[in-house]
């Protein structure tokens, strides 16, 4: 049911099928799907929206990949938070005044 690599031909053929044509019409577009898939990671979506998203996956493997890839990204950084920290970068560092101030404060304790 999912569209294969020779998508253009496939899509043309499949769109003739009334069911697929209907699914393309009623489900969110891929652009809307990316937004919804992201939102689903932060808030509960209405059940109707969730059903339509499920239906969209029936005709679009790319959005399903997108969903898995966002989840993978989340799992990756949550499992290894230390890896996302700025190790050696050209990001701004503490000024020497700030360092002196910090050292003084620490010594006073």
């Amino acid at each position: 049911m999912q569209l294969g690599p020779k998508q253009d031909v496939e899509r043309l053929k499949l769109s003739i099928s009334p069911l697929v044509g209907w699914l393309i019409r009623v489900t969110p577009t891929c652009q809307e799907m990316t937004r919804l898939l992201s939102d689903a990671m932060d808030r509960p979506l209405p059940w109707r929206t969730r059903v339509l998203m499920r239906l969209h996956f029936l005709i679009c493997k790319w959005c399903e990949r997108y969903k898995h890839q966002l989840r993978f990204l989340r799992q990756a950084v949550r499992r290894h938070p230390e890896q996302v920290s700025p190790e050696v970068t050209d990001a701004p560092a503490l000024s020497s005044e700030a360092k002196d101030r910090l050292k003084r404060t620490l010594r006073e304790r």
């Binding site: 690599p5 998508q7 253009d8 577009t29 891929c30 652009q31 809307e32 990316t34 937004r35 992201s38 939102d39 990671m41 932060d42 808030r43 679009c60 790319w62 959005c63 990949r65 997108y66 890839q69 966002l70 993978f72 990204l73 989340r74 799992q75 990756a76 950084v77 949550r78 499992r79 290894h80 938070p81 230390e82 890896q83 996302v84 920290s85 700025p86 190790e87 970068t89 990001a91 701004p92 560092a93 503490l94 005044e97 700030a98 360092k99 002196d100 101030r101 910090l102 050292k103 003084r104 404060t105 620490l106 010594r107 304790r109």
Partner: protein
């Protein structure tokens, strides 16, 4: 010569210290994924001692400051947070369990300090802030019908086993580079939400934005990172 101490420059600080959690609570609330562990009542003799507090500023100051900057995007606040972190570490050094590195222990304290600092702002969240985020999106990833451009932007099949990917240094350096290319606010919300697992409400309070704006920012950050990783790490367009 700067004589004013950081504590005096920030009127909120007295308050935030005043309602600070105790160190015990602080350790209890550090996220479970953190490598920081509290060995309560179980002092092992072979634990690594902390280094001399005098050396902390040189050893970890810049690192902690960058971690703080990534999350708060404000120099003065970041400096404040680093100071609070060092002071809390000084008070709590007895409890340093030695199971994690000194640095990740301090990062754990820093993250707690950030949440603590903004928790009190949560209820003062504005209803909406239309200025920061332009909701309309002219997105080149999609055709006029809102569908993926199949030979340009449609997500590829990421081949490797996820576990194996996380072992690879190159994956993390690509990710760091990609986070670096995000606009600052997006890097900030991504780090707070995805890395630190902070609640949306707290992030909205920190940035003083509405939830719907936060969701747009998160959506764009995730989309950008996914695309960037695909370009720099996961492969080539022809491998459909």
């Amino acid at each position: 010569m700067p004589s004013a101490r950081l504590t005096l420059e920030n009127p909120n600080q007295a308050f935030s210290w005043g309602c600070d959690l105790t160190i015990e609570q602080a350790f209890a609330t550090i996220a479970p994924h953190s490598t920081v562990q509290h060995s309560c009542g179980r002092r092992t003799m072979d634990r690594q001692p902390l280094s001399d507090p005098d050396a902390w500023v040189d050893q970890h100051g810049d690192y902690l400051f960058r971690c703080a900057m990534l999350r708060v995007q404000d120099r003065a606040v970041a400096e404040d947070l680093v100071q609070e972190t060092f002071l809390a570490a000084l008070t709590a050094q007895e409890r340093f369990a030695g199971q994690s590195s000194e640095r990740s222990w301090m990062v754990g304290i820093l993250k707690h300090k950030i949440i603590d600092r903004y928790r009190k702002d949560v209820r003062e969240r504005p209803a909406d802030d239309p200025v920061l985020v332009d909701q309309a999106e002219d997105d080149a990833s999609f055709d006029e019908g809102g569908h993926w451009k199949l030979d340009q932007t449609a997500p590829l099949d990421w081949p490797d086993h996820p576990g194996a990917v996380l072992e690879r240094k190159q994956f993390w350096s690509s990710l760091q580079r990609c986070v670096g290319t995000l606009p600052p606010t997006m890097a900030q919300v991504f780090t707070l939400r995805e890395v630190d697992e902070m609640e949306s409400g707290t992030i909205c309070a920190m940035l003083k934005i509405s939830q719907s704006n936060l969701w747009v920012l998160l959506h764009r950050a995730r989309k950008h990172l996914r695309q960037c990783l695909e370009g720099h790490f996961f492969g080539h367009r022809e491998a459909h």
